[in-house]
């Protein structure tokens, strides 16, 4: 592989990781539509889902153009197979209860905020513009989630118990946010974006005080490491794709 091809492949991979993480979290959150605990939260979660899917659309369109094989956002979203998706594993996990859904939003939004901030300086102008737009959305997602994390974590005995259980479950998946990869090395070297390992410190600084106020305790780190961003997914992902891609698979090229 020539150096230019290698750079191109890494650039594309880097974009898909970000795009797919937004897309799949958006898909999971949209499952809440009509099931929110109160109508206001139902609308809030759906709004956030739409923001995330909007980010994914822009990024996938950009990735498709960069790829140069004529694939558009729809083909990338609805016709790729499981191992071709590059999203972080945490976003494909089932929603669980409202508390767990919100806690995941909190952990992921805090990470996205650091990412978008760094990407605003990307050498890829299109990516920088998408990051600047997405940053505003993500700031609100984070505020919304952090608020609930504190309310539920520092709420009743029952809500605290559920939030702590959710944190125990989700925390190990956050290791993937920062694990090193060759794609990151190339992206950082070409200033396309930061190596994600560089985001860890500011993410921890953002997340820790909120968890403290919420009286939640993050478990100790273990060697557990998921690899969704390398295309290795959990057992839940196939089911998610089956639902998400059903229409395009059943009626190829269908539009309305």
């Amino acid at each position: 592989m020539t150096a230019a091809t290698q750079t191109h492949t890494a650039h594309l991979d880097y974009l898909l990781r970000i795009a797919d993480t937004s897309l799949i979290l958006g898909q999971r959150l949209s499952e809440w539509c009509g099931h929110g605990p109160v109508i206001e939260e139902d609308i809030a979660l759906t709004n956030i889902a739409l923001d995330l899917i909007g980010q994914a659309r822009l990024l996938l369109t950009h990735a498709g153009a960069l790829e140069g094989r004529g694939r558009d956002e729809d083909q990338l979203a609805f016709l790729r197979r499981e191992p071709e998706f590059r999203n972080l594993t945490i976003v494909e996990l089932p929603n669980g209860d409202f508390g767990r859904t919100i806690l995941r939003n909190f952990l992921v939004s805090a990470w996205q905020r650091e990412l978008w901030q760094a990407l605003a300086k990307s050498s890829d102008g299109e990516l920088a513009a998408i990051a600047a737009k997405s940053l505003k959305e993500t700031r609100y997602h984070l505020q919304h989630a952090a608020d609930w994390v504190v309310r539920l974590g520092d709420g009743t005995e029952e809500s605290h118990k559920r939030m702590q259980a959710a944190l125990d479950l989700l925390w190990p998946y956050t290791a993937e946010f920062f694990s090193p990869s060759p794609t990151d090395d190339v992206a950082a070297a070409t200033s396309v974006g930061p190596a994600w390992s560089a985001l860890q410190e500011s993410w921890v600084a953002a997340v820790t005080p909120v968890l403290e106020v919420a009286t939640l305790k993050a478990p100790a780190r273990t060697p557990f490491l998921t690899r969704g961003k390398f295309g290795v997914h959990s057992e839940h992902f196939g089911h998610l794709l089956t639902e998400m891609q059903y229409l395009q698979r059943t009626y190829p090229g269908g539009t309305w």
């Binding site: 109160v38 206001e40 609308i43 709004n47 919304h144 608020d147």
Partner: protein, 97 residues
């Protein structure tokens, strides 16, 4: 002993659609406190670019006039047409009056 509240309190929502315009009542949301009332109002009422500013106020904090007092409150103004500033000729430069 009083029954604990089953329902979050109701908040009335006022939106300013553009700078320079007044906040207008647009609906209500349920929320446990002011902060969340503001967030809920944002999510429910400004998702289609309806606003640049939001006020929320607890519905039970609004003091409303008594509908039964309508005759003495409002009827006396009916025949005082001279209270409208419609008898003046306005210069063209004064718009939106």
């Amino acid at each position: 002993m009083t029954e604990p509240a089953r329902q979050w309190p109701l908040w009335e929502v006022f939106i300013r659609s553009r700078n320079g315009l007044d906040h207008k009542h647009c609906g209500s949301v349920h929320a446990p406190d002011a902060k969340m009332a503001l967030q809920n109002a944002r999510d429910v009422y400004t998702r289609r670019m309806e606003g640049v500013s939001i006020w929320v106020v607890r519905a039970d904090q609004i003091v409303a006039s008594d509908p039964d007092a309508k005759p003495e409150m409002f009827d006396p103004a009916e025949d005082k047409i001279y209270r409208h500033p419609t008898f003046y000729t306005l210069p063209d430069e004064v718009n939106h009056m």
